[in-house]
Homo-oligomer: 199 residues x 2
DNA sequence: CACCTTTGCCTAACACTGTTAAATTGATTA
DNA sequence: TAATCAATTTAACAGTGTTAGGCAAAGGTG
């Protein structure tokens, strides 16, 4: 009856192969390019076979997403354990988070549904300029007495933008933060950064 | 020769109808549901007719995205003009940005490619818990002497997370921020928030 | 008015997508 | 050997974006 186990092992292997194939496609050509038939091609089966292992494409994506979360959590835990003061632990964890996002772009994208594009790059950079200009103008004026470098103004702008865009994004993928909490974070952050401009 | 103008007007109207139809579909059923044939249905034409007005689906999305950017810029400008001190202007602009994002979810999503899902909600909330727990633990310890409420800890956690996730997102949709700028913002933000925990 | 050209739109099709039902194959069991 | 059962494939459906070709009405010209 060891054959049962052998068969189970083969099934497990197939499951893993499917996930690996999916990941490979995504790494090579982006999420847009992922399709059941392409996965099947790589593992040298036909598409319907995949449905014996996953109820659908969505399930594969969810599985990969969960894999990403586990991976990220592990890295953050490791980063924490290398430090001994609490503030250093905090910094190390967030830096690990940062590094994970760029080293595992595909994972991060599916985990938080960011940049699952529809219209390739470009324009954003163009169209954002208006908004960036609008805000930077005011930052420049506030800091005028300190003769700030353009780089510093730019940094302050991105600091504002990051936290607001970040909080919006978190809400849009609906991890339902309390409304009052949002408002609190938002105001605190804006005031905190604004204060950092003048002193 | 006024007929030329009449015809041009009709063409312009069709263009606008296409964009409006697209927007309506998206508002009703999300970006996933948008298709050329559905647009055609609404404006009571057949799908290929759309290609007389737009080179493809992507072009429609880009147009809508640009429309969103103009709308957002206008709202921020208006918000600014209602205030007279610089810090108030800054706050008003960012609050306008915030409100725009939620009142025009569909626009914001396509403008910054956020939450163009692939796997509906749920999981994120579940899987993020590990990470949230991991970080909150450390925050709680740092703040221990102040007996912070769970709500406050949660807020601090989201503050960290927002700015880091925001900065990552901005980079992932590739508005290429300089690498050194990123690092600078990241460190500043982390230290700033950490400092806010202890005093 | 008749002719020709252009324009606007549609039909039909292609190559893809996710997914399902049915048939087929091959191995396991009786 | 015969029957059963699991794994996999074939064929199909309904949907997607997109393109080529045709048709009919409108425009301009003799």
């Amino acid at each position: 009856m060891a054959s049962k186990e052998r068969i189970q092992r083969l099934k497990d292997e197939n499951r893993i192969n499917i996930l690996n194939a999916a990941l490979q496609i995504v790494k090579d050509d982006g999420w847009q390019a992922l399709s059941m038939r392409k996965i099947a091609d790589i593992i040298e089966y036909t598409a319907p076979m995949i449905y014996e292992y996953f109820p659908g494409k969505e399930a594969i994506l969810i599985e990969l997403s969960n894999l990403g979360f586990r991976k990220l959590a592990r890295r953050m835990k490791e980063a924490k354990e290398k430090e001994f003061t609490l503030p250093n632990q905090l910094e190390a964890m967030w830096l690990a988070y940062w590094d994970f996002a760029f080293e595992n772009k595909e994972f991060y994208q599916i985990m938080y549904g960011v940049g699952m594009q529809c219209c390739e790059k470009q324009k954003s950079a163009q169209c954002n300029e208006t908004i960036g200009y609008l805000v930077s103008e005011v930052i420049r004026e506030i800091m005028a007495s300190q003769y700030p470098s353009e780089e510093l103004i730019c940094r302050k702008y991105y600091t504002y933008w990051s936290i607001i865009h970040g909080l919006i994004s978190i809400n849009l993928v609906s991890l339902d933060v309390r409304d009052e909490t949002n408002r609190h974070i938002l105001k605190d952050a804006i005031h905190g950064i604004t204060r950092s401009l003048v002193d």
